[in-house]
């Protein structure tokens, strides 16, 4: 079987499975999977930058929150329709990631991590500062009546699942196409050897900036959809913890793989959900997972598959 056929089969298979699960899962897991698909889209966005371009951002929550607040404030303050609000969310992510990228990409390595962390912290405080619009830490509700997209009530579980599925499928397919396209191959080249990529004539800065923007906009889209599907916009989504989560998910699933973010998000979600029944300190699980991954499996679950079973795994 050719690589292309295997790729189509694998990713198409996953999407078909997720589509079919809609009709089989019990309500609780049905709801969880919808949530996981939105969060996995966030992780997919993070992975474009971290996994494929080799840039580790510790401030992705600011993009997620930019989308969430871009959408939420459009609805809350300007009474926008959901479709327009989603566009506003994506637009906010585009602008924020563009500006942050222009500045942060002047640094590299550890400095890039710290700069993104600092920008994200400033973003978090800004949300609190403009409390008269954002309701600060408390956040606000997107009412059910404001969540009807083209006549589809997104608060209905079935519709929510399909909306989450649509977001996830588009993010997955877009990134799959992207990393197999020349643009994505250049990103990988930059990850592997930035100077060599430059000396092959590629505009490294422009490619990295594009990667930040694609990554940030996908994260923002996930944030906007999250707010719309679950009816809440709040500052906690902009906090440091929500910048660490996608890193954790992507590392667990396999950085630089298309399926890794989904696998990691799903795995971590259930790990926390199950361990919270055993210990109150369930974030301990996250800590142990991070240390263990760094020590024993830096390539993650899908990364191990790529190493041992199929080298062509995109």
């Amino acid at each position: 079987m050719s690589d292309r056929a295997k790729t189509v089969l694998l990713h198409g298979g996953l999407l078909a499975l997720l589509f079919a699960l809609q009709f089989m899962l019990p309500a609780y897991h049905h709801g969880n999977l919808a949530r996981v698909m939105v969060l996995a889209s966030y992780a997919i966005g993070f992975n474009v930058l971290f996994g494929y371009t080799g840039l580790l951002s510790l401030g992705h929550a600011m993009f997620f929150a930019a989308g969430m607040y871009g959408m939420g404030l459009a609805v809350q303050v300007f009474d926008a329709a959901p479709a327009l609000a989603l566009v506003a969310g994506a637009g906010a992510g585009l602008v924020v990631s563009g500006v942050v990228g222009m500045l942060a990409l002047r640094t590299a390595g550890v400095a890039f991590m710290i700069v993104t962390l600092m920008f994200a912290q400033a973003g978090y405080l800004t949300i609190l500062y403009f409390g008269s619009y954002t309701r600060g830490d408390e956040g606000f509700v997107i009412q059910q009546a404001q969540r009807i997209l083209w006549g589809i009530d997104l608060s209905d579980p079935t519709n929510r699942y399909f909306a989450a599925f649509a977001l996830f499928a588009s993010c997955l397919l877009i990134t799959l196409w992207l990393v197999r396209a020349p643009f994505g191959k250049v990103l990988i080249a930059i990850r592997e050897n930035e100077e060599r990529a430059m000396m092959l004539g590629y505009d490294v800065f422009a490619h990295k900036l594009a990667a930040v923007i694609v990554s940030g906009t996908i994260a923002a889209m996930a944030g906007a959809v999250y707010g719309l599907l679950f009816g809440y916009v709040g500052a906690s989504f902009a906090s440091v913890q929500y910048s660490i989560f996608p890193l954790l998910w992507v590392l667990l699933g396999g950085a630089g793989t298309i399926l890794g973010p989904f696998i990691g998000t799903l795995f971590m979600f259930y790990l926390i959900d199950l361990s919270s029944g055993i210990t109150t300190a369930y974030m301990l699980v996250a800590g142990v997972a991070l240390v263990a991954l760094t020590l024993f499996a830096p390539q993650g679950l899908a990364g191990a598959v790529r190493k041992r079973i199929w080298r062509g795994l995109p």
Binding site: L56, G109, M113, V115, A281, L290
Partner: protein, 308 residues
């Protein structure tokens, strides 16, 4: 309050912040300088210092000064040993790769925080200061063309706060002396300048790394022991010192100890004084952005000496 006494009070408060911050940040800076890694778990070593100080003072009882003195001696050593163990079991095994170290120390951060939650609990607990007298301070004013002293409302500090400043200055002098005048300090500086050369000269680099990592954490813990009679020990208290230390270390130049101390004093003092003029939350936003922009536009100057 008039602007004069106000600035004096802000400076006094800022000096306490600066003293504790300098100790914490010097620990972080030392680790970056010698080992070239960023320790994200640094704030949790600070938190552990405060929690262990509470534990020891509670166990000992008696006069508060007794338990506090024991804590001041024992806690930094305990935390330092723990950090050295983390260095040898985790950081050494990722070969001090800068990015993997950050991820691993984020993991260590959660582990320390959550284990503290499971054992110590979620409450904020106070430690009694060994001594604490309120000292009202005078200010001068012109009355009928003559200078005279008066006692403005609220212009005061406490004996303990002054002691914190003194103790921190003493410890920092000790660190400076250790780095410049002792053989261990020489080994550290040699390792900092050129790891490979140090290895070639038979310096036990791995042991130096464990020592430095332990020392860095120990300094954070000592800062926490000093501050815990003023604040309280709480399992989530590590976040703020971490962020502030980052800011200080970046402004001062990563790896440069004098720069770090100067930056700590600058940040500590300005924190109080800026909030005179801006909304405090806005001041924090501006400070954070400033740090990001300093890193963006002046990275070489602020990262100390770059390696070729």
């Amino acid at each position: 309050m008039e602007i004069g006494p106000y600035l004096m009070l802000a400076s006094l408060e800022g000096a306490v912040t600066a003293a504790v911050l300098a100790l914490t940040a010097v620990g972080l800076s030392l680790v970056f300088g010698v080992m070239r890694v960023v320790n994200v778990a640094h704030g949790e070593f600070f938190m552990l210092g405060a929690v262990l100080a509470w534990w020891i003072t509670s166990l000992i009882g008696g006069h508060p000064a007794l338990g506090f003195a024991v804590a001041l001696l024992v806690v930094p050593v305990l935390v330092g040993l723990l950090a050295a163990a983390a260095d040898m079991t985790v950081l050494k095994r990722v070969a001090y790769d800068p990015e993997r170290t950050i991820v691993a120390t984020i993991g260590i951060l959660y582990i320390l925080q959550q284990v503290t939650l499971m054992t110590y609990g979620a409450d904020a607990r106070p430690v009694e200061p060994p001594f604490n007298t309120r000292l009202a301070l005078p200010w001068v004013e012109f009355v009928g063309g003559k200078l005279q002293l008066y006692w403005p409302w609220g212009l005061s500090t406490t004996s303990y706060k002054l002691a914190v400043i003194g103790a921190a200055a003493g410890v920092l002098l000790g660190v400076w002396w250790g780095m410049t005048r002792t053989k261990v300090g020489l080994l550290m500086r040699a390792t900092q300048m050129d790891r490979d050369m140090a290895l070639a000269f038979g310096i036990p680099v791995e042991r130096v790394y464990a020592l430095v990592f332990g020392l860095g954490a120990g300094l954070a813990a000592m800062a926490a022991v000093l501050i815990v009679p003023i604040q309280q020990a709480h399992y989530l208290m590590g976040g703020d010192p971490l962020l502030l230390s980052f800011i200080v270390v970046i402004i001062g130049g990563l790896g440069s100890l004098p720069g770090t101390v100067v930056a700590a004093i600058l940040i500590g003092l300005s924190d109080g004084i800026i909030s005179v003029f801006f909304s405090p939350t806005l001041a924090k936003i501006l400070a954070t952005l400033l740090v990001a922009l300093v890193l963006v536009f002046r990275p070489q100057g602020l990262f100390g000496v770059r390696r070729a």
